[in-house]
Amino acid sequence: MSDDEIRGLVRRMSRRDVLKWSVYAGTTAGALSLIEACGGGTSTAGGTSGGTPANQQVQLVYAAQQDDSGTIPKQIAAWNAANPNTQVTYQPGPKVSQDFLTQLIAAFNAKSVVPDVFDSDVIWPGQFAAAGWMKPLDSFLSSSFKQGVFQSAVTVGQYNGKSYAVQRYYDAGRIYYRTDLLQKYSVQVPQTMSELVNTATKIQEGERAAGNQNFWGFYWIGAQIEALFDEFLEWYWGLGGNLLDKSNNLKFDNDQGRKAAQFMYDTIYSGKISPPGTPTYKTPDIVPFMQNGNAAFMRNWGFAQALLDDPKQSKVAGKIGAAPLPGETRVGFGCTGGWCMAMNANTKYPDRSWQFMQYMLGQKGQTTMATGSGLSPVRSDVLNDPQVQAANPAFKSLPDILKNTKSRPQLKNYTQVSAAIQPALSAIMTKQKSVADGVKAAQTAVDDLLNS
């Protein structure tokens, strides 16, 4: 049908037709409200405040990133069955940290009473606590509870001397390596930075000579994202650097800072053990290279283990090991990650919320989590549980990795600081700035922030 015919037909539409379409529109509007009622619901509800008597039925909302392994719903179902008076609803959020953050800050800025309990990235407690969005947990943290979890699980959530969050599962940067290639070239797992470079070079030369032109010795994350700063910190700490000076200001424009940046730069341009595309690779991008068997070493977070060991997508399943980051003269430090649990400062039911948190951080909840989703638990009793070990053979290397870690500082403007440093590091890695200039630019940007 041509356009002329369209026009002809519209012209012939009478007032009756207009009426007909309006009625359709009206009924649709009515149907809208019905559909809404069937599916969605409204968020905040009115209710009592103050202390809640023990036999009063209470509804809590727990906001966490969507759990594809289905473990969180299992944990919550178990809790709900055992606690009829405290029913928890799971509100799954985006798995991308930044998007989840957007949802949370919108809610907390509006002083919403839900979610009552929520997962927090390890770098958020400083900011959230400063904003008054997290409830201090000191009154809830009994000594028996603190003894059950690893110490770092508690210290990670501390800001200005108070506790605001407790780690729910760990993560730490680590070096993945090919066990078969180390054997083939008769080399050990590198413990120092120079060992890493030498081993990677040796394996790379050997594999390329054997015909694999796509092989690279060392893959790491070079894109302008948070992980770039974390890797810088890992080398910086490994070289003996301290992030905070005596007056608690961030200072990294020093020898170790420049050496750390130089090390990263050299892997690409000098030693050539890392591909030239490294400054464009984000966290998920480098995993396929190792899965295809084209990498000797990879620095990444804990999630990669499962992907590398999955025979459906990895050619090297079962040939992967993980070790802590190397340092200058001895084993270095991985940057900690993972997620914590915290309580909404405006929650109506702090006591019940703590009970739920205790369950998720307790032995039963953590065991379900470790066996179901492979996340690293924060309790030694769970970590040493033979059933958990059987479900996660990779956990064997965990104690070593977790022992050699350092945490990013809890600052009230951490994301701002990181956002100021990342571009300078990226400039170094893409040859836009020299190492010295780049590190100085990063320092200047951070200093400028403190004075704003």
């Binding site: 599916g39 985006p94 800025n109």
Partner: protein, 298 residues
């Protein structure tokens, strides 16, 4: 009058052109060049979607193979199965449709009236009205996020369809008004006046004469506005945290892990989101005609 005189000449020209198109040898080269250009354009527009379609049928190993693999071997429906298992796609479709359709309809009504007034009525200061309306879109959406969220919260609209319908309607309104005022402008004034001479009111003339002639314009504006609303992400993410109220872009983004990007699943989800949308748009353009035939008297 001139048309009357021209008619025989026009008929002759048409006949001559048709004959010439068939016979002239140089024409063939020009024609194949044109077809080549058309093919290039079609490929240019389609290749990313084609790539996504191919990826959606690829097993995990093929997706990141070195060197590049074009055809899945063997093709698999796993990605689609996984995408549909993991998320209530039907519900996302419903939510997206309700919000986008309602917002588009409201926007077109408001923009139609305003665009008509600006295009065809005489009054002073049109430039200022147009720029003033456009000014509403000069601030980036992220700056409006928190204030609008607070507003929505105050009126208890969060997690409802209205939380999206209202912003969507007015976000696309400046663009729709500008588009419709352009389409409505160049229609000769005589047509309207001829209709009004019969005694029809101005608005009657609008409906009977103007809208039919500018129907392609309305349809195009409608498509543009609808697709814009359909693909909106930021407000949908923030104003509808409830899983049951998610729209398609948020739903697709949810497959993405914190550190993983499941290409297969996301390609399947994207295919599920885009292909039906395109088909619906193409069918809608025809349905509008058929639907009107059913209602048209005379």
């Amino acid at each position: 009058m001139r048309e009357e005189a021209l008619r025989p000449a026009l008929a002759a020209t048409r006949a001559r052109k048709r004959a010439a198109a068939r016979l002239r040898p140089g024409r063939v080269g020009g024609r194949s060049a044109f077809y080549l250009m058309a093919i290039v354009f079609a490929v240019f527009s389609l290749f990313p979607m084609a790539w996504i379609l191919l990826s959606s049928f690829m097993p995990l190993a093929d997706l990141t193979a070195q060197p590049l693999v074009y055809l899945p071997h063997p093709p698999t429906l796993d990605n689609y199965r996984f995408a549909l298992q993991q998320a209530p796609f039907a519900r996302y479709y419903l939510n997206s449709t309700v919000c986008s359709l309602t917002a588009t309809f409201a926007c077109l009504v408001l923009a139609g009236f305003a665009g008509y007034a600006i295009a065809r009525l005489r009054f002073r200061g049109k430039q200022y009205v147009l720029v003033g309306i456009l000014m509403a879109s000069f601030f980036p959406p992220i700056t409006q996020l928190i204030p609008l969220y607070n507003l929505m919260n105050k009126f208890n609209l969060l997690n409802t369809y209205w939380a999206l319908i209202i912003p969507y309607t007015f976000h696309t309104l400046p663009m729709a008004i500008w588009l419709l005022s352009a389409y409505l402008r160049d229609i000769p004034r005589d047509l309207e006046e001829a209709a009004m001479v019969d005694g029809t009111s101005r608005l009657g003339a609008f409906w009977r004469v103007i809208v039919p002639i500018s129907a392609p314009g309305f349809i195009t504006a409608g498509i543009i506005v609808f697709v814009y609303d359909w693909n909106e992400f930021l407000f949908a993410l923030t104003f509808e945290p409830n899983a049951a109220m998610r729209t398609i872009p948020v739903g697709i983004a949810l497959y993405q892990g914190q550190f993983t990007y499941p290409w297969g699943t996301i390609s399947a989800a994207t295919a599920l989101a885009v292909v039906p949308l395109v088909l619906i748009i193409l069918i809608f353009q025809r349905r509008l005609i058929t639907g009107l035939t059913a209602g048209a008297v005379k």
